[in-house]
């Protein structure tokens, strides 16, 4: 008997029940993406994106009545003697590695669920304060679970927690440490430490302005944070301000000006920071294809001319090391968060001439290189993410790799769709390893 493939496909499709969709969530997510696209500050760190929810900090409309004081109280240290010097425990999830050039900083988080045989099993929920939202962004539950460690000269020191659960970006510079927070509705403000993580303060905007994280109320807007030299620059569309890491008042600074390019354009810029302190102000039209940028090599005091992006619909939104990257948006399908694999990434280091990367660049997912080591290193059965280099030694977070059909997957974060527990997640603990031969061989950190 001949079965019509059409009939069989329809029989298969008939097994699909009507979906239960929350239109409000769809709309909210669409708005959130548009918001973030306008700012063009999505962090393309594999680990950061998968482990720490991407987001932002915002400066909202003036609110003179409830303007907070310039500086909030210092956070209370939460390290305990028995946890000092031993390094992250088996229960902790290694989130990311950072360095100011001399010290390795490690952020970790508690496993929210059950730890067994090196894996962490949790169950995600859809609530705002839950672990996993509807869109698959991972959120660590619990208060103050984010921990900060310092590793130097073979010694671990647990530092004071910055008092946040999630962050979007972490800067370690000689002048201090800065966190751009996410999902902190009570205090959606940058956290700053000027003593190497021994203590933290929460920065407030100047009187007359307010800040919020990117997932805060929609009547306030997001802003960008950049760290350059010993200063933090906070941008809110056309309003920019700067403050020294070591203290002092906020100062309004003149952002680069430009013509308005689309309906709803406020003339503002997103901002990217290169390792050498170069600032790049970016313009990415959320509705169409306009991309442009300006460069400052003096900490924002002056700006070069507005230059168009490297090509049609190439969004300039990433800086790694001393290189600026652009990636090709699939705008034809109306989605500025879909990227074409047959185009880009584009890369420039002189901010004038762009080259298009090859397949290896695509494979590395815009990871770039860090002093000779790819940002994402594949070696044997493991891959290494978030690689940083200090005094000739590379440090990376090791993921086991396995073959699934024809796909190579990283066994770092797994979501197992269970019919009974549809949002249960299994995680396997990350391990920090080091390499002294430019990522050719690796050994675990003690």
């Amino acid at each position: 008997m001949n079965d019509s493939v059409r009939d069989l496909l329809r029989q298969g499709a008939d097994t699909v029940e009507k979906p239960r969709l929350d239109v409000g969530r769809l709309v909210a997510e669409a708005d959130r993406r548009m918001f973030r696209r306008r700012l063009a500050t999505v962090v393309v760190s594999t680990v950061a994106v998968t482990m720490i929810v991407a987001g932002g900090v915002a400066i909202g409309p003036d609110d003179r009545r409830s303007a907070p004081p310039p500086v909030a109280p210092v956070e209370t240290p939460d390290k305990t003697p028995d946890q000092a010097d031993t390094g992250p425990s088996a229960r902790e999830w290694v989130s990311d590695l950072h360095t100011d050039g001399s010290v390795l900083y490690v952020t970790t988080a508690d496993c929210a669920g059950k730890v067994q045989d090196g894996s962490c099993t949790t169950r995600g929920v859809f609530a705002d304060d839950g672990q996993l939202d509807q869109w698959g962004y991972w959120r660590w539950p619990g208060q103050g679970s984010l921990r900060l460690w310092r590793y130097a000269a073979g010694r671990w020191d647990r530092l004071t927690s910055p008092g946040v659960n999630y962050y979007e970006e972490f800067w370690a510079v000689p002048a201090g440490l800065v966190l751009q927070v996410w999902h902190d509705r009570a205090r959606p403000l940058p956290r700053v430490s000027i003593d190497g993580g021994e203590s933290w303060e929460t920065w407030q905007p100047p009187r007359g302005r307010s800040c919020r994280a990117g997932d805060g109320p929609n009547d306030q807007r997001e802003c960008d944070v950049a760290v350059v030299g010993d200063a933090v620059i906070v941008t809110n569309g056309p309003l920019w301000m700067r403050r020294s890491l070591s203290g002092g008042a906020w100062q309004d600074i003149s952002p680069p000006s430009r013509e308005l390019l689309w309906d709803g354009d406020d003339g503002g810029y997103g901002i990217l920071t290169l390792d050498n302190g170069t600032l790049v102000a970016t313009v990415n039209d959320p509705y169409a294809v306009t991309t442009a940028y300006r460069v400052s090599v003096d900490g924002g005091a002056s700006w070069g001319k507005l230059r168009p992006g490297p090509g049609w619909a190439v969004v300039v939104d990433n800086a790694i090391g001393s290189a600026l990257y652009g990636r090709c948006a699939d705008y034809e399908y109306g989605d500025p968060t879909t990227w074409r694999s047959d185009c880009g990434p584009y890369r420039t280091t002189d901010f004038k001439h762009w080259t298009m990367g090859g397949p290896d660049d695509v494979r590395l997912d815009f990871g770039g290189d860090v002093d000779g080591c790819p940002k994402v290193v594949s070696h044997g059965s493991r891959s290494y993410l978030s690689v940083v280099r200090i005094d000739g030694v590379s440090y990376g977070i090791a993921h086991l790799r396995y073959l699934n059909g024809r796909e190579v997957r990283n066994l770092g974060q797994l979501e197992i769709n269970d019919p009974d527990e549809p949002f249960r997640r299994h995680f396997v603990r990350h391990v920090i390893e080091k390499s002294t031969d430019r990522c050719r061989t690796w050994t675990p950190l003690p």
């Binding site: 493939v5 239109v23 989605d335 968060t337 066994l411």
Partner: protein
């Protein structure tokens, strides 16, 4: 001035079209939960594009095309990342696994084994009853590429399901490259 978005029209669209779109999504990914994720993703993209969709009659086609292109790009993109899986590690669907299943489930299982573009071509041609030209437009590729995808996919499905399976779209005698 922000682009005006008519949430009520969008809600109406979601209410009336989401089931049909989900069916297509399911055939494209072969997994109910992934299909829901795919549908949500496509609907979000559709809403982002809503201000530019001047012609309401094109919204459905737009959403459908977004499902197809997203399914393809998902596969492409997710292969570089940690990603959800049904089982760990899940081997490709083998003969033992599909033995005893209803024929349509077998087809869906084998369909899932096809590369995403071939899968999309089959679904659009045989399930959506689109012409080669319409399928090419939907997938954003050439007519020749569609013919090639369908031809190769049909060959694979015939190989696995047997020659008795009728794989010729209505009104056509043969599918060739």
């Amino acid at each position: 001035m922000r682009h005006r978005r008519d949430t009520s029209e969008y809600s109406e669209f979601v209410e009336h079209r989401s089931h049909a779109l989900l069916r297509t999504a399911y055939l494209l990914v072969g997994d109910h939960q992934l299909a829901e994720d795919l549908l949500q993703e496509a609907l979000i993209k559709t809403f982002i594009a809503w201000p530019r969709l001047r012609d309401p009659t094109k919204v459905d086609a737009y959403a459908r095309r977004t499902i197809v292109t997203t399914a393809i790009s998902w596969r492409r993109r997710r292969s570089f990342h940690e990603r959800p899986v049904d089982v760990l590690p899940d081997a490709t669907c083998g003969a033992d696994e599909v033995e005893g299943l209803a024929t349509h489930r077998v087809l869906v299982a084998y369909l899932r084994d096809l590369p995403p573009r071939q899968r999309a071509a089959v679904v659009l041609r045989f399930y959506e009853d689109l012409s080669v030209a319409q399928t090419a437009e939907m997938m954003g590729c050439s007519v020749g590429a569609v013919k090639s995808h369908v031809s190769v996919a049909v060959g694979k499905l015939r190989e696995r399901m047997g020659p008795a399976l009728d794989l010729v779209p209505a009104g056509e005698e043969e599918v060739t490259s």
